[in-house]
Amino acid sequence: MNELEKDMLPQAVMITIYVLSRQYHVPAGSTILTALEYAGFKLKKGVGCREGFCGACASLYRLQGDYKLHGGLGCATVVQPEMQIVQLPYTPAPKAIYHLEELEPVPEVFTQLYPELYRCLSCNTCTKICPQDLQVMDYIQAAVRGDLEQAADLSFDCIQCGLCSARCPAEITQFNVALLARRLVGKYLAKKGKYVEDRIKEVEASKFTAGYQELQDLSPEDLKKRYFERELNNLIY
């Protein structure tokens, strides 16, 4: 918590939430993660980038007067009055072992590596829970019919939080199936970008070594300053 936040706290409107069925009073407008910290939880697991990218802080919650179970990222979901929350940072998931070099980008990879995929009921429960608002059921169905490119395309923003798999009545591991599809598409089917190859050459030619060294030598404070001062608009992805 920085100074500014501490200053703000006394004036903040407080709301009641429930974490693991216990009542807490937390400032309105907090995210689930900051609310948990305010309530005294020390987060060692179930927290990561705090920017909505890493998928480590998957949470389940219900709102007052609503039977629906919602999924959200703890770092990006704002708490609401009477919200019931639990973190679900990890879902046990089978992961097929394969060498990408030995696979072919053909529909049969799914029947071979993830045959349970064909248990999908198309019930759409995965899509309902996805905190990234992906059409999870659609990408799984693309995989069922062997459409690698559509499976990769529709799952592109998946951050592997695992909520889909936790909720799936067919007990599929959606996110690992999607990962396989994206890897195959990336390796075999997607158009190769010349800029990637150029950049790899630059990295191999140590073009960025000095720059990295400079960052590594900075103190944490200076590093933070540099991070927040970076010109987002000039970043080239």
Partner: protein, 314 residues
């Protein structure tokens, strides 16, 4: 000179297997339909139908998949991809059976419909039973067999084909497209294509269906019975409308040959492949590459394939 055809656009549901393992069936079916003025427009978004209809009274979960598909037909109408066309065409006998049966159940039960509509709360539409499931063979019959005959450019004269119905086209009675015990629709199609339908006693006998997953030997035995009885009746080829029957009857010939060394392979055609050939369509759409029992030799002997062009189909 071919008769002028007015194109009709109808929503079309391919099903999973016609999109990968049996894509050769889809290629030939779409081309044959187009030759008859049917522009089959694939649903822009679709899921697996579930392949088998859930038979228990309380299991609504497994009826959601087909309902999603019905909603896509509504969306196609909403988005003017088709105009006021609520018929949904399928070729796959299993998809057809699941879709028509689910539709029946939802039409009969407001309670089931409401439960599923309520469950699928992310959908922008609700389903009220408006969609009509049609098998391509039914569409052909309603056009009139003489219309099919008119389109034939290379009649399959002298080709002896055993029509194999299997289960899902005919049973149960109120779902099937023809008489469950004495069907004629495939025979009539074959006759209009100029081929000679070969009647044989096991044309309605199940090929073992999904038992092919846990017990391929059993299915090889069932397939052997069906194929050898057809051969005894004089058939040179088999035709079917079900991609799972096609898999069991065609690809299980490998296991049959191991078990019964005297068995001679017999090609298994999807009904639309024979249509494409008889209509004189380009050889690429015949889709002859995806078979186990090679159909090319038979077709070449009969003169349906041009010797000058490569024999590989699409």
């Amino acid at each position: 000179m071919l008769p002028q055809v007015v194109m009709i656009q109808i929503p079309y549901y391919p099903g999973c297997t016609l999109k990968n393992k049996a894509s050769n069936f889809e290629t030939s079916a779409l081309a044959a339909a187009r030759a008859l003025g049917l522009e089959l427009v694939e649903l822009p978004r679709w899921n697996c139908c579930g392949a088998v209809f859930s038979l228990s009274s309380d299991d609504l979960m497994r009826h959601i998949a087909p309902t999603n598909i019905f909603l896509r037909v509504q969306e196609m109408n909403r988005d003017h991809l088709v105009e006021d066309e609520y018929r949904l065409v399928t070729f796959c006998a299993m998809c057809f059976n699941v879709l028509r049966r689910t539709n029946q159940r939802l039409r009969e039960s407001l309670e089931d419909r409401n439960k599923i509509n309520d469950f699928s709360y992310l959908e922008t539409e609700t389903y009220q039973g408006r969609v009509e499931i049609v098998h391509l063979l039914e569409l052909l019959r309603s056009m009139g067999w003489d219309k099919i005959q008119e389109r034939v450019q290379k009649p399959l004269t002298g080709l002896k084909v055993a029509p194999y119905y299997g289960c899902m086209l005919l049973r149960p009675k109120d779902v099937g497209i023809d008489d469950p015990e004495r069907p004629t629709i495939l025979e009539e199609l074959l006759r209009s294509l100029g081929a000679e339908p070969v009647d044989f006693p096991l044309k309605l006998r199940c090929c073992g269906s999904y038992q092919t997953v846990p017990n391929k030997d059993l299915v090889a035995d069932l397939a052997y019975d069906i194929l050898s009885r057809a051969q005894k009746a004089g058939a040179e080829a088999i035709t079917t409308s079900c991609p799972l029957c096609a898999f069991n009857l065609d690809f299980r010939q490998k296991e049959i040959q191991q078990k019964y060394p005297m068995f001679l392979p017999i090609p298994v055609f999807y009904f639309s492949q024979l249509m494409a050939i008889a209509f004189g369509l380009p050889q690429e759409v015949f889709g002859l590459a995806g078979h186990y029992a090679n159909p090319k030799t038979l077709l070449a002997t009969k003169g349906y394939l041009q010797a000058t062009s490569p024999l590989e189909g699409g």
